[in-house]
Each structure stands twice: as C-alpha cells, then as structure tokens.
C-alpha cells in the first residue's frame, strides 16, 4: 500500500515572529523556516508503517513556491521514497490546500493519506478533514496510535477528556497528534542520499485546481500586552496578594 504524506513549510517553531511594519502579515523574509512539526510526525508514522511491512512506498507532497522543496528534502532524508512539489503562488488556505491535495491523491491513489493535525503558522487544523470530505473518505484526526488491519485502519484519537478509537475503511485520511510518535533525527549520509531522490514538479494550474484564497486578511496585530507583574518575596506575601485581588 502506498502512503501519501503532506508536509508544509512554516516559520520554525523556535522563532519569535514579527509583524510587518504595514500590518499586512508576518515577516518571513530571512526567517528560519522548517517542516511543520506535526507533519514531521506524519512522515515518521509513514516510515514506521513501512518498516512494519504495511506500507510499500511513501510519497511526500508539498504545495507552494519552489523554495518549499527544502521540506521535501527533509522528508526524503527521513526516508520517504519520492516527492511531489505542486507549485502554487500566493497565500494558500485550507480549502485550496485540500483541493490541490485531492488532485495529487487522484494521481497517486494512496491507501493512506497522512497530514499533521494543524500547521503552527495559521493554526487552522482543517486541511485533513477537508481533504477527506472532498475525497469522500473516512478521517482519523488527532491520531495518537495507528494500526492497519486488513482493509481497515484503527485509529486512537485524542479527544477532550480522553481518547476514542475508531476503525476507518481504507483509503483514509489521518492527521497526526503530537503523541503519535517521536520523529527520528536525520543523519548526514541520509541527507546526501535524499539529494538523489526524485522530486516531481507540478503546478496548480496544470492540475486544473482553483486554489484562490476565500478569506481576505484585513490586518494582523500583536495581542495586547499584559501589564508587568510583581515579584513577591514569600509565600505569605503571595497569599495576601491573592486575597487582595479577591481571586481566592
């Protein structure tokens, strides 16, 4: 069975983001970019399924400008077999992403489609569910354990107040929670080897997909700052302050 993993290039999670002076967006020029951490977990899960003999081939896919190839190289260095870059310009929103991915899924016919549960830049958490909807496929979101059994995949999902286990007909769309696995480190020889693996280039237009944004961003702003607090010297003083603030 083939697995397709969608990965996104985002501002590295350790970077303190800054808003552009004109308030039109977040500064990304000259900022360290990385693979979205949830997507790295999705790649790792595909690799583990391959090591268990469930998956035979792993295809990594990303959407965006040509520079997004670097996250595909990362996925290839982790162990993905080949990669697809769908060149698309301008802002991509989850519905557009889902439509582009649907076109790639129809070309590749994977049995499992893996994504991260959300990207750490737009925090939308929608692409996987939207893709499953467009494909008419079952979805296993916020997955913390994945087991393929026959023509079904059993998924343990992180939900409010505990976990839930569902069984989905294949092909299915899964989105990875942080707790699904611990992604492996990329070793230098693998990075060198990844340079020889193929990256196929497609374009949004070539796939016949209209991925234009539906939502218009009017502005971005920094959240209101909290007034600086005080350091107290003892537990007794802390207890007194909390009583004065009438919160205990």
């Amino acid at each position: 069975m083939k697995a397709l993993v969608a990965v996104k290039r985002v501002v590295d999670h350790n970077v303190q983001v800054h808003i552009k002076p004109d308030g039109s967006g977040v500064e990304t020029a000259g900022v360290k970019m990385s693979i979205n951490p949830f997507d790295e977990i999705a790649v790792e899960e595909a690799l583990r399924l391959k090591e268990r003999g469930v998956v035979t081939e792993i295809v990594a896919v990303t959407l965006g400008e040509a520079v997004a190839q670097d996250v595909l190289r990362h996925a290839l260095a982790m162990g993905a077999d080949r990669a697809v870059l769908v060149e698309a310009h301008g802002e991509l929103q989850p519905l557009g992403v889902a439509k582009l991915l649907k076109a790639v899924v129809e070309r590749e016919q994977p049995g499992l489609i893996l994504l991260g549960k959300q990207a750490i830049d737009d925090d939308a958490g929608q692409a996987g569910q939207m893709l499953a909807a467009l494909l008419g496929a079952a979805q296993g979101t916020f997955a913390s354990a994945v087991t393929v059994q026959g023509d079904e995949v059993e998924v343990v999902r992180e939900v409010d107040g505990g976990t839930e286990t569902v069984a989905l007909k294949l092909p299915a769309v899964l989105t990875a929670d942080l707790r699904l696995n611990e992604p492996r480190f990329v070793k230098l020889p693998n990075l060198m080897m990844a340079k020889k693996k193929p990256i196929e280039q497609l374009t949004a237009d070539g796939l016949g997909v209209d991925a234009a944004p539906r939502l218009k961003r009017l502005k971005v702003a920094t959240p209101p700052h909290r007034a600086p607090g005080v350091k107290v010297n003892s537990v007794a003083e802390l207890a007194q302050k909390l009583r004065e603030a009438k919160v205990v």
Binding site: D123, A138, Q139, E164, T165, R179, A221, V230, V235, V247
Partner: protein, 309 residues
C-alpha cells in the same frame, strides 16, 4: 436566515462550550437554532430549549449518533446548512473534527478558534500560537466557524425554544466507533474552571501529590505543560497550550512551568497569573502578575496551608 449551532452534549446536558457558542451567535442578530445529534436526545432537548437566546432546537435521533463520527455529523450539518447564514460551534475536539469536513462539502472556507466577531463576516482569530491576531473577512455565502469558548460567556437559562424533530441522513458506513477511554475526575472541567493549577515536568511523579491539595482547596482544575504530559506525569487531556486546551480562568497558578510560547498560547488570557519557579529568568515571570522565585515542592504546600487559614 438563521444561525445553526452544532451542539455538544453527554446525552443529558449540553456542554458549556455550546452555551458559549450561543452567546457568540447573538452577534448576527438572527434567530439561533441548536442542532442536537444523538441516539436519544429527548432529555437533552428539554434542557437545550431552556437556553436563553435559542429560538429552535433541532433533534436528529439516529443509531449512528450514539457515538457521533465526523463523517455522519458533517452529513447531518450539510443536510441543513444551505438554509443558514452561519454554522458555528465551540472550538472543541468534536467541532474541530466535524466542521471542516462540513465546510469542504459546502465548498466554503472555515474560521477556527475565533475570539471576536467584529462585523457580520469579519473575525479576529489568533495565529502563530497566539502571538499574532489576524482580522479576516469572509465572503462565503455560509459562514462556518468555531469560537474560542473562553472568549464568550455561557448563555443562561430562561428561554423557551420550540423543539423540532428531523430525520437523519443515512449512516456513511465509512467509519465505526470501537471504544473510548475517559479520564474520570471530580474536579471542574479544565476549559471552564474558575481556577487552574498547572505544573511542569519538574513535578515528576509528585504531580498529583503536590498540586492536588491546592486544586482541592480552590475548587480548581489541574493543567499541565506538554513536557509533563510527554513524560507521562500527567494525562494528555489536561495539556494546556496551542496544541492542547486553551484556558482563561480567573486565577492561573503555574508551578514549575518555564513559559514556552506553546504553553503561553493556552493561558495568557487568564485574569490573574501566578508563577512559582526556582529559575528567576523563566519566561513565565514575564506574564505573571505575581511571581515567586522558590522551590515549588516547598512553596506549593506552604501556599495551600496559608490559603486554608
């Protein structure tokens, strides 16, 4: 045109998140309808009809909704949504799972975790782990969104909505429910607790022993950092942050929490923040109203004792 709210319930009562969504729904000045999906929603429909601000309760009873799955929930929403201007729900795991699927089937965009509705189709939502607030305008014919529950007060009772029973679409057959594990607790629900006591990895195995008595005393909920959860010291569902639960209690006490951006995204709208940490340079002190540099294993029990008197 009206507003449709995807209700969440435990078979008896509506979840707090749904009452908060009812408050958010008043922003449009349109009639508000609650969609109740379940195996038998008779009891919960009675409660739902009393929520102030709700005009109509739509009951859809079907066997597949005993444990509602995204495939069936989205189908039920899509069945109705074309007659609505807005489809919304609280930003919970249930809605995060089902609403994007419904939005895609309706070919409209979705807005997640909205914290303010500034005009009928203009919203403010946090991005980049809450470090940036984006104002976004939607031009779609149906507005599909989830609202951050802590940003809206829960609707009170006192209403008298009509209750209408509707037929369910056929079950999708794509997925089936296998089982669940629930973390049972007699403490208040984390997302809505008035007081939250949270701990980091440094608490180790003594998480409950050290923080439990203070939570008990203040009738608070326990929360945890991702590190504490990953290390197995606290259950997953009490993780606070960008990838866990977002809380905004009146009092947030962080013990042994360094204050990573991921964690701050989940608690920095709390009214009063207290930090207890032995590291005076910990980032948590920058958002704390009251900071105490101390060993939490001594300070937390002392604070519990001091507040008891």
């Amino acid at each position: 045109m009206s507003v449709l709210i995807l209700a969440e319930h435990d078979g008896q009562h509506l979840k707090q998140a749904t009452r908060q969504a009812v408050t958010a729904a008043q922003a449009w000045g349109l009639p508000v309808h609650l969609l109740l999906l379940g195996a038998d929603t008779a009891a919960v429909a009675g409660h739902a009809a009393q929520v102030a601000g709700v005009a109509r309760v739509l009951r859809v009873d079907a066997p597949q909704f005993e444990h509602p799955l995204a495939e069936d929930v989205a189908a039920a929403i899509v069945n109705l949504a074309r007659d609505y201007k807005v489809v919304l729900a609280g930003h919970t795991a249930f809605a995060k799972n089902a609403l994007p699927r419904a939005a895609a089937l309706l070919d409209v965009a979705m807005l997640a975790d909205v914290i303010a509705i500034t005009a009928p189709a203009t919203y403010v939502r946090p991005v980049y782990a809450g470090n940036v607030l984006a104002t976004v305008e939607s031009s779609d014919p149906i507005q599909v969104l989830t609202v951050r529950t802590t940003a809206f007060a829960a609707a009170e009772t006192g209403g008298a909505a009509e209750v209408v029973t509707l037929a369910a679409p056929a079950a999708s057959g794509l997925s089936r429910w296998v089982g669940e594990t629930r973390n049972v607790s007699d403490r208040p629900e984390l997302a809505t607790a008035r007081v939250v006591i949270s701990g980091g990895r440094s608490l180790g195995e003594r998480f409950e022993e050290v923080l439990g008595p203070l939570a008990q005393l203040l009738n608070g909920a326990l929360g945890a950092t991702r590190a504490a959860v990953d290390a197995g010291f606290a259950p997953n569902d009490i993780q606070i942050g960008q990838t866990g639960t977002v809380v905004a209690p009146e009092l947030y006490i962080a013990a042994g929490v360094s204050g990573a951006a991921q964690h701050l995204a989940g608690m920095k709208d709390s009214k009063v923040i207290v930090a207890i940490n032995h590291d005076p340079d910990a980032a948590i002190f920058q958002v704390a109203d009251y900071g105490l540099v101390a060993d939490l294993f001594e300070a937390v029990p002392q604070l519990t004792a001091a507040l008891k008197n």
